[in-house]
Point group: C3
Chain length 214, copies 3
């Protein structure tokens, strides 16, 4: 019913797998912090952490027809629960918005590349596989903002979805010209992180749509 | 394409199956009442009833790789439509917030236990199966609140997700120590309901996160 | 892993297939326009276009256990990207709310009938297949409104979900009495469009729920 996919770690590479767990933990922490801003209970911390940490990968797995990664393996869910508990018990000042933005940037780049790699390994066309990377990187944060009633991360002025699309698209392109998964993954994740880093550090953004509505 | 799962009723037991239909109806009624507060049409009543009644079980089935229960069998969808029609035609005072809270508490406990039981029967690891119970119990209400633009049930001060987590986790624990499904189910659902009942009657809640943001 | 369904086009008919692509493009454009109202970037235009264009069909495919249509075939996703780019580069006055309502009406009727037809072809019970048409027609717009933080299309006073339900239910009924797919599809889509057209032109609506809350 829920066949394991043992070859996936091998085919995607341990580097990406590790980044994926780091990304899950970091996103989960950002979910728990949203619950902290709303002065919620530990159980709500856990719920927000889970949805934010695994939301993007869940939608990706459902779309590509893969067994949902955190349902067949309890490790990612435990990582989310750990993030919730750690955020609950540690001082709030450890988790500044600024620090979180940087951790989130790591998660975003890692998830975007991992999502594209997994989609390609399931036979998804390259154009769509690139989109699966964006979904993996961005959907958890979107769900977190919807649940918390906060303005969506989608609507932030500085680059966010774009950095995910860049990392994901670059990985697909590098695979297409023949690079191995670990090499393509490291290059794409690093450059995607760099782009997001410039957005955080300098407020780098794309041009906005400026036509009046008449 | 959509294989029936005939052994499920047997393995989970008729008590839980019955509670699941009751839960669907009650949640559907709470969805229809959200539409009533917004002074909507009968069709919108039906849509809200469906989403609220089957939303949690749908997400659970997608996550565990089961055929979606209300797509292979028309009965749950008909129960939702009935709830919408009944709420539309009966006097509003029959459906006080207080009465609804109590019905909702039954649905929550029933869904949490049923969701965990179904997940276990599909081979999901126990830790994750407990979470599937929470998803089954809580996601329909979350979707209802998102659609209606109301503050999420997640953010209520008194115990809600916690009661679902308690019922679901207790069921998994009782199964693990060897109790039969019907016995474990009845104990877990009853105690989960009792916890939620104390929350309704006395405003019982978990401690809230109180650290200032600096 | 993602088996193609080559017989689907044949069994549903080229008319419906064409309407489905038109519907995807039109809904995608309405998503891009929501991004334009929020003065977003081209990347956000693309994200909104994708979610709105394929959201309803995605939920339908997940529910009925079909491979997700735009993941196995890159054409619908490309149609969404095209809609985003076209809305970005063309003058805003080409895309009046009024013009969009009419295009949206075409998409709604086409999607409702296509969704019901696809569900029937996957062996879903007729009562539920009718609901799948409504999901296909309405969920993309609901997701667009949630992402954009706008009041949901569900809550508009004039007929919307009702028109989808009418088209979808009529198609199922016509199939049940023995009409061929293309004939039943054209009749149901045309009359569904006509109902929505009356709602747009004359503000036609269903009676609203008017009981006071006491």
């Amino acid at each position: 019913m829920l066949p394991p996919t043992p070859s996936l770690a091998t085919s995607i590479g341990p580097v990406l797998e590790t980044l994926s767990i780091v990304g899950t933990f970091v996103f989960a922490a950002s979910g728990a912090l949203a619950a902290a801003r709303l002065q919620q209970t530990l159980v709500t911390f856990a719920f927000f952490a889970l949805v934010t940490g695994v939301g993007g990968g869940t939608v990706r797995d459902l779309l590509i027809g893969a067994p949902v990664f955190w349902v067949v393996d309890a490790v990612p869910a435990m990582a989310c629960m750990s993030a919730a508990v750690i955020v609950w018990f540690t001082p709030r000042r450890w988790w500044s918005d600024r620090a979180l933005d940087w951790l989130d940037a790591i998660g975003l780049a890692a998830f975007a590349v991992f999502g594209a790699a997994k989609a390609l390994s399931f036979g998804v066309p390259p154009f769509v596989a690139g989109m699966m990377g964006v979904v993996t990187g961005c959907v958890g944060g979107i769900m977190r903002d919807l649940l918390a009633g906060e303005p969506s991360i989608l609507l932030r002025p500085e680059l966010y979805v774009t950095a995910a699309a860049f990392a994901s698209g670059l990985f697909v392109a590098l695979r297409w010209i023949g690079l191995d998964v670990p090499v393509a993954g490291l290059i794409a994740a690093t450059l995607g992180f760099a782009l997001r880093a410039m957005a955080i550090a300098r407020g780098l953004g794309l041009p906005l749509y400026r036509q009046p509505a008449d």
